[in-house]
């Protein structure tokens, strides 16, 4: 007979997988909207956002009742602590994706700018880091965690560089200021999605190893590119 707590933990795991998939879809949608010229209709996105919010609340409820009724310890405790944090991170990823979609609609001559500053490449990498993040929660694979850290570093560097170039462009050509600013905001959002993914990877690492690596410079140590 399965322990009651195991049923609850299984439920929790499934919901996180579900909410992770939804956020992954949102990011994919955001990247699509950002990169494609005619802007798609945002109805589906809004619906998904509501689903994510509901699941996020549901996760908190389940965690609360597990704490109150089962007093989890050791790996159970780490799993629940991580689940709560991970669902927060996922919820933010969803929000950032929505912001990207909204901002993308207000960038004039978007296509030219995207080509000029190699934004497509960054956006695709952000899409891929969200996929990897869901995978790492599911498989608890340490090498995937390493890949996420490395990818995050790369995204961060490329965002910095693109932002630097956009600012220079704005300095020399004042007509690009509005679009340029919006694009900088989008880049910052992409960078933050990647950060949230990295945080999730850190929680998965904590779940497996009981070690907290938050705030440690992992990109420059263990998981060197």
């Amino acid at each position: 007979m399965a322990l009651h707590i195991e049923t609850e933990l299984g439920k929790l795991k499934n919901i996180i997988i579900k909410i992770g998939d939804l956020a992954e879809n949102q990011v994919a949608e955001a990247v699509k909207v950002l990169l494609s010229e005619p802007v798609t209709e945002g109805k589906e996105v809004k619906k998904t956002e509501n689903k994510i919010d509901k699941l996020d609340v549901k996760i908190d409820e389940i965690c609360q009742s597990i704490f109150a009724l089962h007093q989890p310890v050791a790996s159970d405790l780490r799993f629940i602590m991580s689940a709560m944090q991970i669902s927060n991170e996922i919820e933010r990823i969803g929000d950032l994706a929505i912001s990207i979609i909204k901002k993308s609609k207000n960038i004039k001559d978007k296509h030219d700018l995207i080509v000029k500053f190699s934004i497509a490449d960054i956006a695709k990498q952000v899409e891929s880091i969200t996929i990897k993040t869901n995978e790492c929660f599911l498989t608890r694979n340490e090498s995937t965690i390493g890949e996420i850290f490395i990818l995050n570093n790369r995204i961060k560097n490329e965002c910095d560089e693109a932002i630097h170039n956009i600012i220079n462009e704005m300095k020399s050509n004042s007509k690009t200021v509005v679009s340029g600013t919006n694009l900088v905001i989008v880049l910052k959002h992409l960078e933050r999605i990647s950060e949230h993914c990295t945080n999730i990877a850190e929680y998965v690492y904590f779940m497996i190893n009981a070690k907290i690596i938050k705030h440690e410079k992992f990109g420059s140590t263990k998981f060197e590119d």
Partner: protein
């Protein structure tokens, strides 16, 4: 130096071996919780610390137990002095059929203290120590059986404290108590730790977490893991410990 140091303990009830090569040390003024499934040898180990197992026929021990550096199983050990130094509280409150006052005074008289004033002082201090004074000060002459279970248990602890031990052994001291009495005993353990070294057997994992500094997990007569309580309950190193504390045993 460790307050209690046991090395390579094997213990037998007749042919049955109840403890296998158990080595376990405890620091002064610490609380150690002994946990593990029923029959794993917790009580057996606890009783070795004040030679209570001597009272059971046909038992045998090998290995050594040092308290304050002294081997308590050495031939010239005075067992009465040992038991004075190592007090014990049991699962069920077991007051004597005497008055509240007499229950606490009993141990003193047995130990040859006759001065009335000394006895009175010690009785009051001990009852105060277990935070029972407010509840019993007006009925010291009444029978101890008129107290509630939780009050009786605190009275028994007061009785153990009156003879001024330095070590207190507790075998599931709250298993018969309601949550309020339990939390009073737990608070008491926390207070007593300043002056005593405490070893407590408990089946309540949360209690072990709340009251102890170190936790020892026993299984089938073996000490499987012994570590800081925080470590045991967050990241035990043995799978058996993890399975036991998360309730997935067997």
């Amino acid at each position: 130096m460790q307050k209690i140091e046991s090395k390579g303990i094997n213990f037998y009830y007749g042919e049955t071996q109840a403890l296998h090569n158990v080595s376990l040390s405890m620091k002064e003024n610490s609380v150690t919780a002994l946990i593990g499934p029923s029959g794993c040898g917790k009580s057996t180990y606890l009783r070795l610390l004040n030679r209570m197992n001597d009272l059971i026929d046909n038992t045998k021990m090998t290995g050594s137990i040092l308290i304050d550096g002294q081997d308590i199983y050495e031939k010239n050990t005075n067992v009465d002095d040992l038991r004075k130094n190592v007090g014990m509280v049991f699962q069920k409150p077991n007051p004597f059929p005497k008055s509240i006052f007499e229950n606490v005074a009993y141990g003193l008289k047995v130990n040859g203290i006759t001065d009335k004033k000394t006895i009175e002082e010690r009785v009051i201090t001990s009852i105060e120590q277990v935070a029972l004074w407010g509840e019993v000060k007006d009925k010291l002459k009444k029978s101890a059986f008129e107290l509630s279970g939780g009050q009786q248990q605190r009275l028994c602890i007061a009785r153990a404290l009156a003879i001024q031990p330095s070590i207190l052994l507790m075998d599931e001291p709250t298993s018969a108590l309601d949550p309020i009495s339990t939390s009073k005993i737990e608070e008491l353990i926390y207070e007593l730790k300043k002056q005593y070294t405490i070893v407590i057997v408990t089946h309540n994992m949360q209690q072990a977490g709340r009251v102890s500094d170190t936790t020892a997990f026993f299984y089938m007569g073996e000490l499987i893991e012994y570590d800081k309580t925080k470590t045991i309950f967050t990241k035990p190193s043995q799978k058996q410990t993890e399975d036991y504390i998360t309730g997935r045993f067997g």
